[in-house]
Each structure stands twice: as structure tokens, then as C-alpha cells.
């Protein structure tokens, strides 16, 4: 990507191929750090749950809906990526747009799920199981918003200069998006297992 983040210091051309693989690699290390963050949250939950005083509660149905939506958005993200590879401008536009929309729907349905929980008296400051649900789903949503910002960045750039030379932005978008989908599916099943009545 001609993102200034990775191409500066006058080494615009120096060691270009090395630098490109370094950027791809950095994205994977970044995902490893995020994995560790959520591994810590979820293992903290297991330790805390083992100590008792743990309330089980009903999950709002909208969380099922949001899970389906994020999986769907991952499919369309892959579609955008493949269309980019095949240099089909129109398909890239459409698929990236749908992904963005699906991502936003996911975000709003998470928030509305929290609202439903609050209405039924499940609050952040309540039992530890409630706190963990808000903490973990909230931390995931913040990461997803990061992914949405990256996707918007790609779409804006692609609309200004519709070129297929920069493969890294779409690559990182896609990888991170799939990662966040897989992460949510894991978190959803995990939270359902430990917190749902």
C-alpha cells in the first residue's frame, strides 16, 4: 500500500519486496496480540466463574442475529477480495459496500442487544457474569470499529484512484475482517456456554 505508514523515510523503493512481506507479516503479529488480549479476558472469566457467585441470564435473540450478520459480512469481504484479484471494479465496489453495511448492522445490533440487557436489569456493574459480557463484547466491538475504519479507508482510496496495484490494503482488510468474525463466533459460543441460562 502506498500508505504513508509503511512507505516513508525515503526508502520508497528500497527493499520493496522485503518491506511488503514485512507489512503482511506485521498484520499477523498484530492479530496475535489481539488473540492474547481476548485469551486473557476469557481465561479471567473461567477463573472468576470457578469461584461461584455467578449469575446465568437469558441472551437477547439479537445476538444470534448479529452473529449471522458478521459471518455474512465475512463472505462478502472475501467476495470483494477475490473480485479485486480479478480486477473487477464494479464487483469490488458492490462487495465492499455490502460488507461495510453488514459491519455497521453488526455494530448496531450489538448495541441494541446491550440495551435489551439493560432493560431487563442486566448491567455492567451487576454480577461478574454481566460485567464480563459487556466487557468482552465491548472490546470486540471496538476492534470491529477499527476494521470498519480500515474498510472505509480502502473504499475511499479505491473511489479516488480505482487502481489494482495496491494489494496490501485489501489484503489486510480481508484478513482482519475474517479474524474478527472468527473471534466473535468464538466469543459468542464461549459467552453462551458460560453465561447463558
Amino acid at each position: 500500500m502506498n500508505l504513508s505508514l509503511f512507505n516513508n523515510n525515503g526508502f520508497t523503493l528500497a527493499q520493496t519486496s522485503q518491506r511488503k512481506s514485512a507489512i503482511r507479516f506485521s498484520i499477523w503479529i498484530f492479530m496475535a496480540t489481539v488473540t492474547m488480549l481476548f485469551a486473557a479476558f476469557t481465561s479471567a472469566l473461567i477463573v472468576r466463574q470457578g469461584q461461584g457467585n455467578w449469575d446465568l441470564f437469558r441472551f437477547p435473540a439479537i445476538f444470534n442475529f448479529s452473529t449471522i450478520f458478521i459471518v455474512f459480512s465475512s463472505v462478502t469481504m472475501q467476495w470483494a477480495y477475490l473480485s479485486f484479484q480479478k480486477q473487477k471494479t464494479k464487483e469490488v465496489w458492490m462487495a465492499a459496500g455490502i460488507t461495510l453495511f453488514a459491519g455497521l448492522v453488526f455494530a448496531f445490533s450489538q448495541i441494541s442487544g446491550w440495551n435489551t440487557l439493560y432493560d431487563s436489569g442486566i448491567k455492567l456493574s451487576g454480577n461478574a457474569s454481566h460485567s464480563f459480557l459487556f466487557l468482552i463484547s465491548g472490546a470486540h466491538l471496538l476492534h470491529l470499529i477499527g476494521g470498519v475504519v480500515l474498510l472505509i479507508f480502502f473504499i475511499v482510496r479505491f473511489s479516488v484512484t480505482p487502481s489494482f496495484s495496491d494489494k496490501i490494503t485489501i489484503y489486510s482488510c480481508t484478513v482482519i475482517w475474517h479474524f474478527l468474525t472468527a473471534l466473535w463466533v468464538y466469543l459468542f459460543l464461549f459467552l453462551k456456554y458460560y453465561c447463558a441460562a
Binding site: 504513508s4 505508514l5 509503511f6 516513508n8 523515510n9 525515503g10 526508502f11 520508497t12 523503493l13 528500497a14 527493499q15 522485503q18 518491506r19 512481506s21 514485512a22 507489512i23 507479516f25 506485521s26 503479529i29 498484530f30 496475535a32 496480540t33 489481539v34 492474547m36 488480549l37 481476548f38 485469551a39 486473557a40 479476558f41 479471567a44 477463573v47 472468576r48 469461584q51 457467585n53 455492567l124 456493574s125 454480577n127 461478574a128 460485567s131 466487557l135 472490546a139
Partner: protein, 611 residues
């Protein structure tokens, strides 16, 4: 096959040449600000880290001297301390609450800001690109951001000295409930908030740096620099960066939960029935032990994040100044990996006495004692490297030797502390203080000092003064041993750490003289650091000009020009042909063969299996 590789290599070379011409056009006009302040050059960023760390180290050391003043002369009125600390030391006697702030900030600053940020930031930035042969980091901008986050985090941490109630005072491990209840102690309020903000910035800085270091080592090595040709410095930096990237997010998760407990009414770490100022708190069901698990899951890898880079630099410096190949190069690498791996499964040995299940404790005893194996491998290899060598006693070499000494002395006591049963007597005593200051604090500082003396010529194109360096070394090591060795006896007698004064009980007040002895040596040791600071800044301007390869070392950084250039090598990046430890190779006229010398030029010394 051979022709195709040759063509490829020519292609690579002509490509880098073109690039180079292109760069030159770019780089003649750099303003002062872009060159020295918001620089993206890894060498400058390394120096920025070093200068910041020196400042933080002076602060951290001054805090420890204030503590030693209190412990050595309890109740004595020091008017200058009164003037320095104002209401925190009315009449020149440090207040007990402030003593805890000193303990906390000394630990935090030394562990995170000097030995993690300073040591890693300086030498990873300086040496990784120079030793693996690349023009800069994978992402220079991310690298600069990493430094500026570190700088901001240092400023926030220091700013906590200037808030009304004083800095955080719950210890560097910030155990709840003291850290989770803003009203618990004076330092639990704004001071603790600033601590958390500062550490969040620090973690962000560390992750940006870490991602960059790993990615650079994996992807940006010059031609011929296979992993097994990397110097041990780069190996240790690489593994350290992996440890950081995997463990700091865990501390971050704990910190987030702590913030929720402090500000949003959750009870992750706060149990039932806490009463503060005669008021029963609403929190219920939380577990302070959970914080300890999360903290020490970072905390133990952290001590290796501090120690491994020092080990790597010491290995390199020992080999260079012993004029012998490092003994057991591959074993050294595997030992680094083993230590790195084991560091993730020993954390609960910090919690033996926390009420943890004793069976769980015995598992952690086992994993902890396993660390003795790779540590012994490393120590054995350092000693065998030195065995029958012609040692050149440069200040860097003295510090490398001192490192080995401290690592043995401090490491052995780790075997005692790693036993859950022995720990019943020894936990939270001065024995622990002695152990970790020797093995991790002082040893890592020695690695840092060794690195500064050894790579100063590469950083500033000047030599440091040898005589001052040697004085600095001997004063430092003698005072270190005089400070920390007696603490073992106090610890075995059960004298608890972190106490404000030991005057109340006869069995502790009998150590008053010993405490004074320690305090006097601490002052001497502290004063000795002036020699380093003077030597450092004086040599930067007035030192003898450096030669290209002053220590006759093999690694790639010494093939760069004496005056550093942007992009490190004015022409092509050298190609690597051999491992970095060809010292005193029989048949060669000189006692070293740098890594970029091809075997075709060293016919007299080549042996079967060399290529």
C-alpha cells in the same frame, strides 16, 4: 541452478543500487527537527530511547536513595529531603505513605521505563537493522510512534509526582484492592489513574515496537543472513520481542478490568465486604487473586524481557573480547527459546503464599526449576567461551563478566525461592529483594552498561574514556554486592520487604547497623553513576574519534561508515557468508573474519564443512 541464483543476485544488487541513487536525491535536505527530533531513522530513535532511559534511570535511582536514607537513618531529619519533597517529608522525614510511593515508582520506572523501554528500545533499534543488514525497520513511522508513545508515557508517569496526593503507592504490581479503590490510600486516587494511563501508553508503545522488531528480523535480513547466521544479540532481541507481544496484551486486559472496577462499578477484583472509611462498599464477588494471575502472566515473561536482551549482548561482547567463538552457539539459541517458552508457564511462583491450591503450586515449582536448565546451559557456555581465552578487559567486557557473576549469584537464590515450601519463610522478605535485584535488576543494568560502552562508537562516532569506565565498573560492582548480599541474611531472618522502618521490633531493629551499611554502599554506588553520565556526555563531544571497527568485531554494524548515514550503507548492503563468531580461526592471519568476507578470500583458514 547456480547460474540462475547468480543472475538473481546481480538483479538484486543493481536494484538496490538504483534505489540508492534515488535515496540520495531525497536525503540531503533534512531540517534539524526531522533529523533529530521527529526522526524516522532507527539509529536516532535508538539514541532517543537511550537518552530518555538515562533520565528515567536517574529518577529511579534517586528514589531508591531516598528509600535507603529512610532505612539507614530512620527518623533522622534530612533538611534537603524536606526541601525536595515538601509536604511529603515535613521536617525532613519521609512520610510513610510517601515511602510506598517511592517503592512503587522506583519499581515501575526501573522495570518498565529503564530496563524494558530503555534497554530494548535503544539496542533493538540500533542493532537489529545494523546487524541483520537492512536500511531501516519494516515500518520506520511505527517505530518513531513507538518512541513518542514511550516518551508520552514517561511524562505521564513523572507527572504523578506533582499531584496533590502523590503518586501511586500500591507497589509496582498494583495489587487490588489498594489499586482498585480510588479512596483506599492517598496514592490510589489520581496517582493510580496516572499510573494506568501511563502504562497503557507504554503497552501501546511496546506493541508497536515489538511488531516492528519481529517483522524486521523475519523479513528484512540481507542476502545470506540465514537465521543461523544471526548474532546472538539479534536472536535474543527477536525472542524478547515475541515475549513482549504475547504478554503485554494480558497486562492490558487486566488494566482495562481494573479501570472498570475503579470507574464503572464492576467487581472483577473486588471481593465482598470491603469497608472504606466506615462505609460498606457495594462491590461483591470479585477476586484480587485474579489480578495477580493476570499481572504475573505478564510479570514473569517481563523479567525475561528485561534479562534476555542483556544476555544476548553479553554473549556477543564476551565472544568479541575473549577473541574466541561463542561456545555452543546453537545451544545458546535453543536456551534463549527455552527460557522464553518456560517464562510463560511459571507465573504462579509469585503467588505461592496467596492462598492458591498447593497442588497447583507444586506444578509451578516444577516448571520454575526447569528454567535452571537453559540458564545453566547459558552460564556454562559463557564460562567455556572464557576458558583459556586472551581476555581484553575493555569496560564493556568488564560489564559482561560482571553480568555473568551477578547472574550466577542472583540466579542461585531463585532455586530456593522457586520452592513453594521454602517460600513460606522467604516470601516477601529481603531475600526476594536481594534475589531479583541481583539477577534481573543489576544484571540487566550490566547488560545495558556493557552495551553502551561497546556500541557507543557506533552511536556517536566517538570512543568513551576507558579509565573512567573501569572506575565506574569496579565501584558499581563492589557497591552492588555490598548492598544486596547482606539482604539475603535479613531475608532469611524474616525481615519483610517494603516496610517503612524496622525500629519497632527487637528482631528487626538488630539489623539497623546492617541497614546503615547497605545505605552507605547504596550512596557510593549511586555516586559512582556520575562517572558514567559524565563519561557518556563528555565523550559524545570530546571523546577520541572512533575507528571503523574499534573492537575488531565480526558483525555487520562495523562495516558501516564511522559517521552514520541514512540507510546505513552508502553502497550495497553487504552480503553475509559466515556466522558471526569466526574469531581466532586457525590459518587466518588476523584473529577475526567479519561476516561479509566470502570463503573464497579465506582459503588459508577454510575447513571442511565451512561452505
Amino acid at each position: 541452478m547456480e547460474t540462475s541464483t547468480q543472475t538473481q543476485s546481480t538483479a538484486v544488487h543493481s536494484h538496490t543500487n538504483d534505489v540508492h541513487i534515488h535515496e540520495h536525491e531525497h536525503h540531503h535536505h533534512q531540517s534539524f527537527i526531522s533529523k533529530y527530533i521527529f526522526s524516522l531513522d532507527h539509529k536516532t530513535i535508538g539514541k532517543q530511547y537511550l537518552i530518555t532511559a538515562i533520565f528515567m534511570a536517574i529518577v529511579g535511582m534517586s528514589l531508591s536513595l531516598l528509600m535507603r536514607a529512610q532505612l539507614g537513618w530512620p527518623g533522622e531529619q534530612f533538611s534537603f529531603i524536606g526541601k525536595l519533597l515538601g509536604k511529603f517529608a515535613e521536617g525532613g522525614i519521609i512520610k510513610p505513605e510517601y515511602y510506598y510511593a517511592l517503592v512503587t515508582l522506583h519499581g515501575t520506572i526501573m522495570v518498565f521505563f529503564v530496563l524494558t523501554g530503555g534497554l530494548s528500545g535503544t539496542f533493538f533499534n540500533l542493532l537489529i537493522p545494523l546487524q541483520i543488514g537492512t536500511r531501516d525497520m519494516a515500518s520506520p513511522l511505527l517505530n518513531a510512534l513507538s518512541y513518542w508513545f514511550f516518551f508520552a508515557s514517561s511524562c505521564v508517569m513523572l507527572s504523578s509526582f506533582f499531584v496533590m496526593a502523590g503518586p501511586a503507592s500500591g507497589g509496582w504490581t498494583i495489587y487490588p484492592p489498594l489499586s482498585a479503590l480510588p479512596e483506599a490510600t492517598p496514592g490510589s486516587g489520581t496517582g493510580m489513574t496516572l499510573w494506568l494511563v501511563s502504562m497503557s501508553l507504554f503497552i501501546a508503545s511496546g506493541l508497536m515496537g515489538g511488531i516492528n522488531y519481529i517483522s524486521t528480523v523475519i523479513n528484512m535480513r540481507t542476502k545470506g543472513m540465514s537465521l543461523w547466521k544471526m548474532p546472538l544479540t539479534v536472536w535474543s532481541f527477536f525472542i524478547t520481542a515475541i515475549l513482549g507481544v504475547l504478554s503485554f496484551p494480558v497486562l492490558f486486559s487486566g488494566a482495562i478490568m481494573l479501570v472498570f472496577d475503579r470507574s464503572f462499578g464492576t467487581s472483577f477484583f473486588l471481593p465482598d465486604g470491603l469497608v472504606v472509611a466506615d462505609k460498606l462498599l457495594n462491590h461483591s464477588g470479585g477476586s484480587p487473586i485474579l489480578w495477580q494471575h493476570l499481572f504475573w502472566f505478564l510479570g514473569h515473561p517481563e523479567v525475561y524481557i528485561v534479562l534476555l536482551p542483556a544476555m544476548g549482548m553479553v554473549s556477543e561482547i564476551l565472544s568479541v573480547n575473549a577473541r574466541k567463538p561463542i561456545f555452543g552457539y546453537k545451544a545458546m539459541v535453543y536456551a534463549i527459546m527455552a527460557i522464553g517458552f518456560l517464562s510463560f508457564i511459571v507465573w504462579a511462583h509469585h503467588m505461592f503464599q496467596s492462598g492458591m491450591n498447593p497442588f497447583l503450586g507444586s506444578v509451578f515449582v516444577f516448571t520454575t526449576l526447569l528454567i535452571a536448565i537453559p540458564s545453566a546451559v547459558k552460564t556454562f557456555n559463557w564460562l567455556t567461551t572464557l576458558y583459556r581465552s586472551n581476555i581484553i578487559f575493555t569496560p564493556a567486557m568488564l560489564y559482561a563478566l560482571g553480568f555473568v557473576s551477578l547472574f550466577i549469584t542472583g540466579g542461585i537464590t531463585g532455586i530456593f525461592l522457586g520452592n513453594a515450601a521454602v517460600d513460606i519463610q522467604l516470601h516477601d522478605t529481603y531475600f526476594v529483594v536481594a534475589h531479583f535485584h541481583l539477577v534481573m535488576g543489576a544484571a540487566s543494568f550490566f547488560g545495558l552498561f556493557a552495551g553502551v560502552y561497546h556500541w557507543f562508537p557506533k552511536m556517536f562516532s566517538k570512543m568513551m574514556n576507558n579509565t573512567l569506565g573501569k572506575w565506574h565498573f569496579w565501584l558499581t560492582i563492589i557497591s552492588l554486592y555490598c548492598v544486596f548480599f547482606p539482604m539475603h541474611y535479613m531475608g532469611m531472618a524474616g525481615v519483610p520487604r517494603r516496610y517503612y522502618a524496622f525500629t519497632e521490633y527487637e528482631w528487626t531493629s538488630m539489623f539497623t547497623d546492617l541497614n546503615r551499611f547497605i545505605s552507605i554502599w547504596a550512596l557510593i554506588g549511586g555516586a559512582a553513576q556520575v562517572l558514567l553520565i559524565f563519561n557518556f556526555f563528555w565523550s559524545m563531544f570530546k571523546g577520541k574519534p572512533a575507528t571503523a571497527n574499534p573492537w575488531k568485531a565480526n558483525t555487520l554494524e562495523w562495516t558501516t561508515p564511522i559517521k552514520p548515514v541514512h540507510g546505513n550503507w552508502p553502497g550495497e548492503i553487504p552480503e553475509v557468508h559466515r556466522w558471526p563468531y569466526d574469531y581466532s580461526k586457525p590459518g587466518h592471519e588476523e584473529d577475526y573474519i567479519p561476516q561479509h568476507i566470502p570463503y573464497s578470500e579465506t582459503g588459508s583458514s577454510n575447513r571442511k564443512g565451512d561452505y
